[in-house]
Structures are given as C-alpha cells and as structure tokens.
C-alpha cells in the first residue's frame, strides 16, 4: 500500500486524471487506474528513475508505440523522453479483464474454440511484430490479459522486447539472458542473440497454449530449480495431449511444433504459422 502523501502528489501532478486508485505496486513501478476525459479509462504507470528500469521502459514504450494491434494496449502519453525528471510516467489504455495466470490458477476451462482464438490473436500480433522487426521475448500468462465475456486477449509488457535491427541492450557476455524460465526458448535464455527472432516468441505462445489446454507448464512441472527447467526444455519434448475436436491431431501437433525447442522445427515465421493454423483449423470439429 502506498503512503497517502505519495498518492496525493500523484493526484496533484495529474490534474487531468480523475478517480485515481492504486492497482499494483512493486519494485520501481506503481500502477494506478484512472479516468481521463479524452481517453476514458486509463492506466497510469509511475516509474522511479533507475538506469535499468528506465532503459527497459523506454524500449517498452517505443516498441508498443510502433505496433498497431487492437490486442496491444495503446500508449496515450508519457514523459519517458524527458531528462532530469523526478519520475517517469505513462498513460495507457485500460484493459478490462484479468491476467491469464488468474484464469489458469482458477482452473478456467479453455475449450478448443478459445484456444484457436488465442492462437489466432497471438499469431496476428506476432505478424505485426515481425513486420516491425520486433520480438516480445516475454510472452507468458502474467503478461496476457483475458476478458472472458468478450473472449479477447491482450499482450502486455514489452519491457524485454528487442528490435532486431538495433543493438541489443542485454549484455552479450551473460551466460543467461533475462527471461522467464519455463516460457523462454533456449536460444533466448542462452543469450544466443543471432538466433533470436520471431520463432522465439512462437515457442512461448506454444507453451502458453499447452498450459491453457492442460493446466500445467510441462517444463516447470516437477522442476524444483532452474537447471531442471533448462534440462526439461532442452531435453524433453512436450508430451502428447488431446484436444476436443482435433480429429486428425493436427492442432496438437501444431502446438507441439510451436513449442519445439529445436528452432529449426518451428514454423519459420509468424505468417507461416498463421497460415498453417488456418489449414489445421479446417480439420478441427468445433462443438
């Protein structure tokens, strides 16, 4: 819980926002919900100045701003390009829904239709990222918002996003790169920068789809430490699983191909993955 004086300061500093209330806070970041006359419901993010956080936030904003997708929250305003500021702030679109993690923790039933919608949504986002030469690098249930009444998904947090034409800000000599264990492909956590491209995101999407169907992450399950997760990702293919209506087992094969740690076995691009999904979709009987 934030102290009242800090919240009062925020209310004073953002006079064009009304009904400011805290959503989450932690580390260097505070997140509020508010109302803006023009943008309606918005999220206000306050970031304390810190070189690492600042660089990543700047990257996040730049990445999110060049993406045009209805499944990525719009960034309306920010002061991230300013120097010598007390704190950085971002005002972005408020998304109604909860994280995919919330639904997974509550054993929500993602049926075949919802899974196909998830895959189509995310492959469309990835096509947009691919066109803009971006890789998200942190697709996981915590960074996905789902609204069950709209059956709609949004992708959040471009803090690890990488523009493939720009110099990486991750240290090259690190044995392991920043990532979320269990969702990052080995070319990412092993910091093999030359091999990182859109296929890195396809891996994470495949893992998330598997988790939505089965309720568990196959690489994290039963692993008690990071070396075990690494071993699982690099040594074990994801297990076979059944999907209702997937009469020719092509949808499950498609998800397995996406989540194959062997880079060469994944679809070569988001566009190719989307096209294959359309072919697979024709073989699935939806109830």
């Amino acid at each position: 819980m934030l102290d009242k004086s800090f919240v009062s300061k925020i209310v004073k500093d953002f006079s064009d926002l009304q009904n400011i209330c805290e959503l989450t806070s932690g580390g260097q970041k505070y997140v509020f919900k508010a109302f803006h006359k023009q943008y309606r419901n918005v999220v206000l993010k306050i970031i304390k100045p810190n070189p690492n956080v600042y660089r990543r936030t700047k990257r996040e904003i730049r990445a999110a701003r060049i993406i045009s997708s209805k499944n990525v929250p719009i960034i309306f305003e920010s002061n991230i390009e300013q120097e010598n500021t007390e704190y950085f702030w971002i005002i972005e679109e408020f998304i109604k829904g909860s994280t995919l993690r919330f639904f997974l923790n509550n054993n929500y039933n993602f049926d075949t239709r919802k899974i196909i919608n998830f895959l189509e949504t995310f492959l469309n986002i990835e096509i947009e990222l691919e066109n803009k030469k971006l890789v998200h690098r942190d697709i996981k249930p915590e960074n996905i918002i789902y609204n069950p009444s709209l059956d709609k998904y949004w992708l959040l947090d471009f803090g690890l996003a990488r523009h493939l034409d720009l110099v990486s800000i991750t240290q090259t000599n690190l044995a392991f790169a920043l990532c979320t264990w269990g969702y990052a492909a080995s070319e990412q956590f092993r910091n093999l920068k030359q091999q990182i491209n859109i296929r890195t995101d396809l891996f994470s999407i495949g893992v998330v789809a598997f988790e939505m169907l089965t309720g568990y992450n196959p690489f994290i399950k039963d692993a008690t430490n990071v070396p075990q997760v690494i071993k699982n990702i690099e040594r074990l293919p994801i297990p076979d699983f059944n999907i209702d209506g997937d009469t020719q087992f092509l949808l499950s094969t498609f998800i397995k191909n996406m989540a194959d740690n062997r880079l060469s076995r994944r679809p070569r691009s988001a566009k190719e993955a989307y096209e294959i999904l359309q072919e697979v979709k024709n073989t699935v009987i939806l109830s």
């Binding site: 030359q194 091999q195 092509l250 191909n257 062997r262 880079l263 060469s264 076995r265 294959i276 697979v280």
Partner: protein
C-alpha cells in the same frame, strides 16, 4: 529429386553409358580416382551427352596420406610447422580448387572442402567458416556448396544435428553437400535415429531455402525424398554408396575384397547374389525378382530368359548399370505433388519390399546383408517419425521447397 553419379574406381564407361541413356545427368568427380587431365576428358564426354559435372575435393582427412589425393596440386603439405588455416596455404588451396579444377572442368557448382570430424563443435564451425570465407573472397560465378561430412556419432546425436542447423542458418552458401558416415560401417542402416536425424538435418536445410545433395548414398536414401532434397549421389561399388573414411586414408585403404555380382530387385529394395537367383530359378519364382517393366532396364534381361542365372554372363558391368538405372527411375519418381502423397508412396514401396522380402526369405532366397528386410523396421520408423515431427510445416511448404 535427382540421382547424381558418384564417381569411383572403374566408373568411366558406366558414366558415359548412363548419362547417354538418360540424356543428361550430373557426375560428381573423384580426385581420389582421377587426375586433373582425366577429369577434363571425362567432363568433355559428359558435356557432349548434355550432362554436368561436380567436383568433390575429398578433403575429408587432410592428413590421410592417400597417395592419389596428395598428388593433386591443390592438396596442401601439412607436415610443416605452421597453421594451415591462418597461413597463406588455405587461400592458395581454395584458389587452386576453384580456378584450376572447378572452372577448368566447368563444374556446375563449387563444392568446398570439408573435413571429417568425430564431433561437431566450435572448432569445426570456426574452421569450416574460414574455408567458406576464403571461397567467398573469390566471388565464385557458380553456386557454392559447403561440404558437411559427419561422423556416425554426430548423425546419431539429435543435439549435434540441431546445433549444426542453428549454426548453418547464417552461412552464405547456395547449398550443402552432406556426407554422412554410416554407423558401424554398415551398408544398409538399421538405426532409425540415424535415418531420422539425417532426414531432420536435410529438412532443416531445405527450410533455409538451400539446395541439398547427400553424397555416397544407396537406395535406402530414397526416404530422403520426403525431405524433398535435391539429389542423392550413388555409384557402383559399396565404397561409393556409403562414406567410409578409410577410403580416403592411404594407410588404411580397404584391401580389394573378393568380388561378387549382385542383382538389384528394385521392388524388393534388395540385392541378391546370383547364386540365390539360381535358387529362385530352381523353385520357379525367378520371374518375381525381375525388375518391373517401368524400370526399363535391359541390363538384367539375360537373367530372365529362362536359363539358370548362375550359368549366364551377367557381369559386374551389367549389375552396376542395372542398379543405377533402376535407382535413377526410383529417385526421379519418389517426390510426388504433396507431402502426404510422397509419404504414402514411400510407405507403399516399403510395404511392398516387406511383402516381397518375406516371401523370398520363406523360399530360401536371401539377400544377406543387402536384404532390405534387415532394415525395414528402422526405415519405416524414420519415415513415420519424420512425418510426426516435420510433417505439418513440411506439408505446408511442399511446393516452395
């Protein structure tokens, strides 16, 4: 998919005959068996029959001491104390191979030297990249193919195969000439992992939009049609139908073994010694071994004219030509217009082989180590596993591969 002829000992006349019969084709010349002037003469004859040539520099064992190879101008002296890969020796060798050999004999592509290594590791990548970089400095006017010579252990390791694939993604070449060593020096391969990993490697390279030629192959490599590779190359003797490093090592070169003539039954994917055709003749089932008419091979007609096959003059010459001619037909027809139809056709061909070899075995007609029944399970297993692993993406991309 094409069948290239892998040149080996005593292959000149067969090459001329077959290239003429096929109205073209490609021959991979072997410096181990030919001097430069002989290559030039062969190239002229092949060109006159609308064929093409390639040159395999056979740099598999740089210190192999094979006399014929060492006599070639491009072969470096590796006995001095220096660093071959960081001296002027490498550029000199590459220039000689390119200008004096490839351009001189008008090869249709520049196959780069590549060496055998028991393991694919960082050193392997660095040294082969140096070879490639020297080649590219020459601005070759013909397509460039890197040689990837793999030990049987490397092919058996899925990790090695994928590490290779991930590394080769950035290589600026037009294609790859894959030379895989067979496990335990077996002619036909009974290890499904070896077969699957080779298919997986080829598929990964094809998906990078590269040309792929698999050298030193036999009819078992027909399953590579499902990976839609561009060509396999094969030849007469077993040592050009499978890669063995001893062939390129002067000290360990194979001694000449007792020669036996084998007849290839293409429907059974098996080869039989003439004595076993005699058994088939005495049981009245010889006709079942005859190559189907679609193969249009008159080289083996003499065996099926009614006389006991052991008494007719079916020589090595006819046996080799029959094998390569039938294989040529099989290779040319293995790839169908979709992934699924190619898979189905291959599966049918393997099941036919299964039925036929079981029948022949029950009658005492045995192909010994060339009987395909020995490797049917492994071959079928690799085919099905490949379909499970790569089928979806491959089927989608079939027409563009």
């Amino acid at each position: 998919m094409d069948l290239f002829l892998q040149f080996g000992y005593g292959m000149l006349k067969h090459t001329e005959e077959l290239i003429n019969k096929w109205n073209g084709g490609t021959v991979i010349l072997s410096p181990r068996d030919l001097k430069l002037d002989q290559m030039k003469n062969i190239q002229i004859k092949i060109f006159n029959n609308s064929g093409n040539v390639l040159l395999d520099p056979q740099f598999y064992l740089p210190r192999g001491d094979h006399k014929n190879l060492m006599e070639h101008d491009y072969w470096p002296d590796l006995n001095n104390t220096d660093n071959f890969f960081h001296s002027d020796k490498l550029p000199k060798m590459m220039k000689k191979i390119y200008y004096d050999y490839n351009l001189n004999i008008s090869t249709s592509a520049f196959i780069l030297p590549g060496f055998y290594s028991s393991a694919i590791n960082e050193n392997w990548f660095v040294l082969h990249k140096l070879i490639l970089n020297e080649a590219l400095k020459l601005n070759p006017e013909i397509p460039v193919f890197s040689t990837i010579c793999l030990s049987s252990e490397s092919v058996l390791s899925q990790e090695s195969v994928h590490s290779l694939l991930e590394n080769l993604e950035t290589w600026n070449v037009d294609g790859f000439y894959i030379v895989p060593e067979h496990p335990r020096n077996n002619y036909l391969i009974d290890n499904p992992n070896w077969l699957l990993n080779l298919m997986d490697l080829c598929a990964g390279l094809k998906l990078l939009n590269k040309k792929v030629i698999v050298g030193y192959s036999s009819h078992q490599s027909l399953i590579l049609g499902l990976a839609k590779i561009d060509a396999i190359s094969s030849g007469t003797w077993i040592n050009v139908r499978m890669f063995t490093k001893d062939k390129f090592n002067g000290k360990k070169e194979e001694s000449v073994k007792k020669r036996t003539t084998w007849y290839y039954c293409p429907q059974a994917l098996s080869e039989y010694q003439i004595d076993y055709l005699g058994i088939a003749h005495s049981l009245g089932i010889l006709e079942k071994l005859k190559a189907n008419e679609i193969f249009d091979s008159n080289y083996s007609e003499i065996l099926f004219r009614g006389a006991d096959p052991t008494t007719v003059n079916f020589t090595e010459r006819e046996a080799f030509r029959h094998y390569l001619h039938c294989l040529h037909y099989q290779v040319n027809n293995v790839v169908k217009n979709s992934f699924d139809s190619t898979y189905n056709a291959l599966k049918l061909s393997l099941e036919t082989s299964q039925n036929m070899t079981e029948y022949f075995l029950s009658k005492g007609v045995r192909g010994k180590y060339r009987d395909f029944s020995n490797v049917l399970d492994s071959t079928l297993s690799a085919l099905d596993a490949f379909r499970a692993i790569r089928g979806l993406v491959y089927a989608h991309n079939w027409n563009s591969l």
